[in-house]
């Protein structure tokens, strides 16, 4: 994936993608941990999807933030 901001000094879109997914990943992961002690009433809740899906989104976001951080 090319790292080319459209104009000199402009942050690449990939950085914004990283930020929002890192925040979302952390929020969902923490919610998943909370649900271990407060189960929710959804189908397949026993799979604890918020934990692994939140972790996955957070890791993807962190990679994008690190790879496309300002000043790199």
């Amino acid at each position: 994936m090319e790292k080319t901001p459209a104009k000199a000094g402009m942050l690449p879109v990939w950085f914004f993608i990283g930020v929002i997914h890192l925040i979302y990943g952390v929020l969902i992961f923490i919610t998943g941990l909370y649900e271990l002690s407060h189960p929710v009433d959804t189908v397949l809740a026993n799979l604890h999807a918020p934990i692994w899906w939140g972790a996955f989104i957070g890791v993807v976001g962190a990679i994008y933030v690190w790879r496309f951080r300002p000043g790199r």
Binding site: A6, L27, I57
Partner: protein
């Protein structure tokens, strides 16, 4: 005393109305509201951040023509991931089965590859700012004006459809007030597009693309776990709907009566694949604008090819949830027009599946994905409208000479005005059973004839300005006439679709086919009867009169044609797997 942040998180409760709260199918928690608020803050923040980089008309309307192939390609697909994709097609999958995937595969992939490899060089080399702009260079102002006005009308109506659908889904799912939803979402889009123009629209579309994928992919993953995989899902569908075939793409299409859509494979291949989809993906400026913003010819050719790979995967989180709903929901969905209290319509299938599998946090992400889809579609419509209005209607017909700053200001103002007109359109869109049927009807009015006009202009030097104008007009008028005929007398649909069993989507395909053919025939006949333009005036506009840049010096893996071949091979494999 309640902490202020708890009060803040409860603000969306102000959006509730009594009727909505009685029918809503899910409730959000604090973390879901936080996720939604962060999304709105992010898209607005991007708009404010990009304003300082949007200093000229080219920045505002064409994102400075500096987008990489990846950004342009993802934005190209994302602009199309609006209401129709996320809600309408999941509902259509429940209604028609996997046949709805035709709109993603045969109804998209060949056309996207055709755009990238065949048509994009001309859009790019001609330095046009829009599709009507190309028509002006090739045919003259009359054809361009006709196309620009019809596009502007269609775009505003489409934007209204997007708004209405979003507000409806927020009302059904969350009980939010329909009017507040329309105004809050459209003003947000208006602010970020008016600030950063196409820069802002494209940046947000790429962000929205990722959100949609991460927000929606969990439904098919958990659904397939619940059903025990594809074969388990098929077995449950057969049990729930005995005697009906929902899981084959082509097998039930030998006869009109063999499939729930009432369509023949000829209509799918020629109406959808050869006319309707070609028209949409190659001439609808909403999507083409994203590719015109690419930084060079190679990026412009590669962007739709990159987009085609992602487009091919979209059915796995749009069509598959519809099929899974056939397998796992303990009740049957019904058409919106026949819905009784306590029942749910086809278009609600995606939120129902979301509520089935997703608890707090994931639910917020899923809702954000839906809102992102709605907003990306709306932003696509608004930014395309601003460009066509300013460059193809206002500049040639109203104020021919003005400084660039004047057109930039016009673009910003008509973004807001266009949104206000769309809001008006949203209140009109209320009486069609399926939102998709309505929008498909719009497509076939304008898009199918336009494809005939643009394609003939690009490949046939003999096509004249008069031929282009009368062909486009005849195709559009014939499409509206066929639509009106069937609306007035439904028994006449067998004249258009060759079968009394044809459903609205099948009718749209046939109408597109006939109107496209009428456009081509009229264009050819009138062109042969009128004086052709000298070949010197066709350089950069038509095959045979244009030197196209060679890719011979590029390594194989960097050539758009190579990746187009890979994409087409994958497309054929999917047809074979789900035959």
């Amino acid at each position: 005393m309640t902490p202020f942040w708890i009060t803040f998180l409860a603000l969306p409760a102000l959006f509730l109305d009594a009727a909505g709260s009685a029918t809503r199918i899910m409730s959000l928690h604090a973390v879901d509201f936080v996720i939604i608020v962060i999304y709105f803050a992010m898209v607005l923040g991007i708009g404010f951040y990009l304003k300082k980089y949007t200093k000229s008309g080219e920045d505002f309307f064409l994102a400075g023509r500096e987008m990489t192939a990846w950004v342009a390609g993802l934005s190209f697909v994302s602009a199309n991931l609006g209401t129709l994709e996320l809600m309408g097609w999941a509902g259509n999958a429940y209604q028609y089965g996997i046949m709805a995937a035709h709109w993603y595969w045969v109804g998209a992939i060949p056309a996207m590859l055709f755009l990238g490899i065949v048509m994009m060089p001309f859009y790019y080399i001609s330095k046009t700012h829009s599709v009507p702009g190309y028509l002006e260079l090739r045919y003259g102002r009359a054809t361009s004006g006709l196309s620009a006005i019809s596009f502007a009308v269609m775009t505003i109506l489409m934007s209204g459809v997007n708004m209405f659908a979003m507000a409806l889904v927020l009302k059904v799912m969350l009980g939010w007030n329909i009017h507040l939803s329309i105004w809050a979402s459209s003003l947000t889009v208006g602010v970020y597009v008016a600030l950063g123009g196409l820069f802002s629209a494209i940046f947000n579309e790429v962000v929205q693309f990722f959100l949609i994928w991460f927000g929606a992919m969990l439904i098919p993953i958990l659904g397939l776990i619940e059903t025990g995989g594809w074969s388990g899902m098929v077995e449950r569908i057969h049990r729930n709907f005995p005697g009906q075939d929902f899981t084959h793409l082509w097998r039930p299409m030998a006869h009109f009566a063999d499939n729930p859509m009432g369509v023949h494979w000829v209509g799918i291949v020629f109406g959808l694949g050869a006319v309707l989809s070609m028209g949409y993906w190659t001439t609808d400026f909403l999507v083409v604008q994203r590719v015109i913003a690419a930084k060079d010819v190679r990026a412009a050719k590669l962007a739709p090819v990159i987009g085609s790979f992602f487009k091919m995967a979209v059915p796995f989180f749009v069509i598959l949830p519809g099929l899974l709903a056939l397998a796992v929901l303990p009740f049957h969905l019904v058409p919106a027009s026949a819905m009784q209290p306590g029942q749910h319509s086809y278009d609600e299938v995606l939120p129902l599946m979301l509520a089935r599998y997703c608890g707090p946090g994931l639910l917020g992400l899923g809702i954000t994905a839906l809102i992102a889809g709605f907003m990306s579609g709306m932003a696509g419509n608004v930014s395309a409208f601003a460009t066509v209005w300013t460059y193809d209607i206002y500049r040639p017909f109203i104020r021919k000479t003005a400084p660039d700053s004047h057109y930039l200001a016009m673009g910003r103002w008509c973004t807001i005005i266009g949104l206000l007109i769309s809001i008006g359109a949203a209140y009109i869109v209320t009486h069609f059973g399926s939102l998709m049927d309505y929008v498909q009807a719009l497509f076939s009015f304008f898009i199918a004839p336009l494809f005939g006009t643009v394609l003939l202009g690009m490949i046939w030097k003999r096509t004249t300005g008069a031929g282009g104008f009368w062909g486009l007009l005849a195709g559009t008028v014939s499409s509206v006439a066929m639509f009106t005929l069937v609306e007035l007398d439904p028994t006449k649909k067998s004249l258009v679709a060759l079968s009394p069993l044809a459903k609205p989507l099948a009718l749209d395909m046939w109408r597109a086919l006939w109107s496209g053919l009428i456009c081509v025939v009229v264009t050819v006949v009138v062109s042969l009867l009128t004086e052709p333009r000298p070949e010197a005036q066709l350089v950069g506009l038509v095959y045979g009169a244009t030197d196209l840049p060679s890719e011979g010096d590029l390594p194989l893996l960097k050539r758009p044609i190579f990746w187009a071949g890979v994409s087409f091979a994958l497309f054929l494999v999917l047809q074979w797997i789900f035959w």
